[in-house]
């Protein structure tokens, strides 16, 4: 529902010690946050830096903090978030700022690597189709977590990441949970060791900020809880 002809947009500029610039953007039907940011860059200030790619909620490039909450901006309509004709747009929390709304995602994906969130097929798996029972518990667990687009919204929403910067974070742990439940993987249990350490799944306080803000409605909290159970069982069996 369009309520006024223009929108006041406060956009973060600069780096960590930056400031807000204010712009007036004309309202349009079905206008998204990304539309607004793009309008500002194309029409009002070409020096504005931000990141996007697919514009349809698949690539995970365009997440920003909108009115204090992390969101995927290409699929978030202004109508959903504007407050009295105003919107505040900042870069994602918990990431180093490159410039304006663009953040450095390296730390985020480095943690996927550190968590061992990499699929390694078992011998011969590439020579034949894997027959995975869609009704098996493992397949259901993996399916519930598999649609992550790597947007960083959960990482930005996570207070544990803010308090404990070496924490692997919800997205990496969620990815590991899919691999632990992947029967095509060479050694699913081997994925438990990297996430059983100080920065791993047990650092999660189950506050569910990740699940609350995930644009794909995933629950990394549930995946992490699964990892907690599985690592504990492995410990008791002497496998860690």
């Amino acid at each position: 529902m369009q309520t006024s002809k223009s929108l006041r947009v406060d956009i973060w500029r600069g780096g960590e010690d930056g400031w807000f610039d204010t712009f007036s953007v004309p309202r349009q039907p079905s206008q998204t946050i990304l539309d607004v940011v793009t309008y500002v860059q194309r029409k009002l200030d070409p020096t504005l830096s931000y990141r996007f790619s697919c514009r349809v909620g698949m690539c995970g490039s365009c997440a920003m903090t909108v009115n204090g909450k992390p969101r995927w901006t290409c699929r978030t309509h202004i109508d959903l978030v504007e407050e009295d004709g105003r919107v505040e747009i900042k870069p994602l929390r918990n990431f180093p700022i490159v410039k304006d709304l663009a953040v450095d995602m390296a730390v985020f994906f480095d943690k996927w690597r550190d968590a061992g969130a990499r699929f390694t097929p078992r011998d011969g798996a590439s020579l034949e189709f894997a027959t995975v029972d869609p009704q098996s518990q493992a397949r259901k667990e993996a399916s519930a977590a598999i649609e992550c687009i790597g947007c960083g919204v959960c990482y930005s929403a996570c207070d544990v990441v803010a308090w404990k910067p070496d924490y692997l974070g919800p997205a990496a742990l969620n990815r590991v949970w899919t691999l632990v439940n992947d029967e095509r993987d060479a050694d699913p249990d081997a994925h438990l060791r990297p996430v059983a350490g100080d920065a791993g799944c047990h650092a999660c306080h189950s506050q569910q900020g990740c699940a609350t803000h995930c644009p794909k409605s995933l629950s990394p909290t549930a995946s992490i809880a699964g990892l907690k159970r599985r690592t504990l069982m492995a410990l008791l069996k002497g496998q860690l």
Partner: protein, 111 residues
């Protein structure tokens, strides 16, 4: 080793929580009963002194609280103060010993 230590601490904290939960409820029920019934200190002590049951209950309570609180304190120190190294662990051990000592002093006084 660090991973295994963290895992054991996680297990100990969850296990101690499972023990604490019913004991806290029992403790609250006992307190409410004692207050509502207007029991004097002497009457309470006459019920608890020499009781293996109450000694066992509160002895277990002290152990669970000491373990649970100490592990939680270690996490708080590490996260809220960004304190790395052995410091938080040492403080947690000291806290655990202090709770055990004070707790068993209290248990000894009523049983």
């Amino acid at each position: 080793m660090s991973g295994r230590l963290e895992l054991w601490l996680f297990a100990a904290q969850r296990l101690s929580a499972m023990v604490l939960a019913p004991l806290v409820l029992l403790h609250l029920a006992v307190m409410i009963y004692a207050v509502q019934d207007g029991l004097s200190a002497a009457e309470i002590l006459s019920r608890t002194q020499g009781s293996i049951f109450w000694g066992g209950i509160y002895g277990l309570f002290v152990i669970a609280a000491a373990i649970h609180g100490a592990i939680g304190l270690r996490v708080i120190l590490r996260e809220m103060l960004a304190w790395r190294g052995a410091g938080p662990g040492m403080i947690a051990i000291a806290f655990c010993i202090a709770v055990l000592a004070l707790g068993y002093r209290a248990v000894g006084a009523i049983t």
